[in-house]
Amino acid sequence: MSIRLNVVDRNGGEHEVETAPEGSLMETLRELDYGVAAICGGMCSCATCHVYIAPEWLDKLPARQSDEGDLLAELQFRQDNSRLSCQVQLKPEYNGLRLTLAPEE
């Protein structure tokens, strides 16, 4: 079983990405040729997997943990709908999740 994500790349291009609803969102985005760097590999140490979650989906994701908020707080391209994709675990109910890749810092 798989879910579909709607991913907007850094040039505004829209992509439908099919993925298994397991692991972190970062692990799916890392596979894309326009994806995220994810330098630290999901340790919540580097903030290089930054995405913007579409407003209608924001409340459906679990809240940020403290480290994630701390890292995001100091990013140049931070927005209210910013998340680190390594901290978002994919679930079946995220079918249709829409997000935009944040610019690289």
Partner: protein
Amino acid sequence: MSTDTHTEDHVYVVGAGHAGGELAFALRQQGYTGPLTVIGEEAHLPYQRPPLSKAYLKGECEAPSLYLRQQAAYEKANIGLLLSRRVERIDRAGKKLVFDDGREVKYSKLALATGGRARRMTINDAARAERTKNFHYLRSIDDVMAIRSRFEAGQRLVIVGGGYIGLEVAASAIARDLNVTVLEALPRVLARVTAPQMSAFYEQVHRNAGVDLRTNVEVTGLEFNAAGDAVTAVHCTGGVVIQADLVVVGIGLLPNTEVAQAAGLDVDNGIVVNEHAVTSDPHIVAAGDCTNHPSLFCGRRIRLESVPNAVEQARVAAAYLAGKPRVYDSVPWFWSDQYDLKLQMTGLSQGYDQFVLRGSMENKSFAAFYLKEGRLIACDAVNRAQEFMIAKRMVAACKPFDPAALADETVPLKTLAPPVQAATAPA
């Protein structure tokens, strides 16, 4: 012997580690559409090494989750993979790579991402120990696969080396209820990379966790079982003997530069590259742990063993190969996770003349600042992710900061730092 008959462009990336994998994909992103192949000695797709001493060692994840990208991504990007293959020689005059089985391929451009290998022990018993089942270095998935088979509660683990690898293995072993001894030859752990205060902090943390941590101890010999297929004890200076079921050695890394050197490229503690990651041959770039590169930030040449360096330098190397050269000017940064401690480091502290502590080591939440002639050159942050992000900007600014203000927790660090540049981002 067969010679590949490519006459057109073919970019080969020698080395399938973090730098090699990143370089190949970065080259595609930069618009190179010609033939592109990554060559690796290991059987695995390019993977992340940092979890090897942590989550992977503890059995919390399996090899495919370490891969930077899965097989399908290489197919989609049309990146060829030659795995379990070793490049024996570079023939620069003929622009050929010669493999250990004698086969040859022609390259138009070459990227060296050969990384490094574990430094081996030099004592007499080491060569014999390397043939046993319970004596290991730690650099690859295969190394850790072998360690994992004995990584069980109650096993007596002796770790040689109190650097980041050794300490991370110790923390992982404590989490798995092994009996852990760490032997460090120098007077303190992490001696080459951090201040005595930080070393003392980490020594205390490990001792409190139950590690038998011994400094100023050199290994003088090893004892073997009757069959000679296992190490049973480690002999140290002063006649001390430590019984062992498992020995892991983490005493540093040696850059893999031999093939480059034999090809006549400039090598000096790493393959010498310029600010565009280009070697002394304009057709050959290099990136990652294997390079000696100019650091604008440090004002000197450095060689780094770090994932961020591997990734960012790989991108610079790819940009050059794609005809869009840019300058590598990153500030070094690192991380290390041990127990409940999230350590993030920025800058290089070597040569500091002032150490400033902000926060409390007792509470395991602090930032240590390193100054040289008043200028902030590095910061180690423990469980302070936000201050680490701020410190990154401060260190990158190459400026003096007031030590009293750095230490004063009533002054938000943010008020000292250069502001985040105003950004306009897509919605």
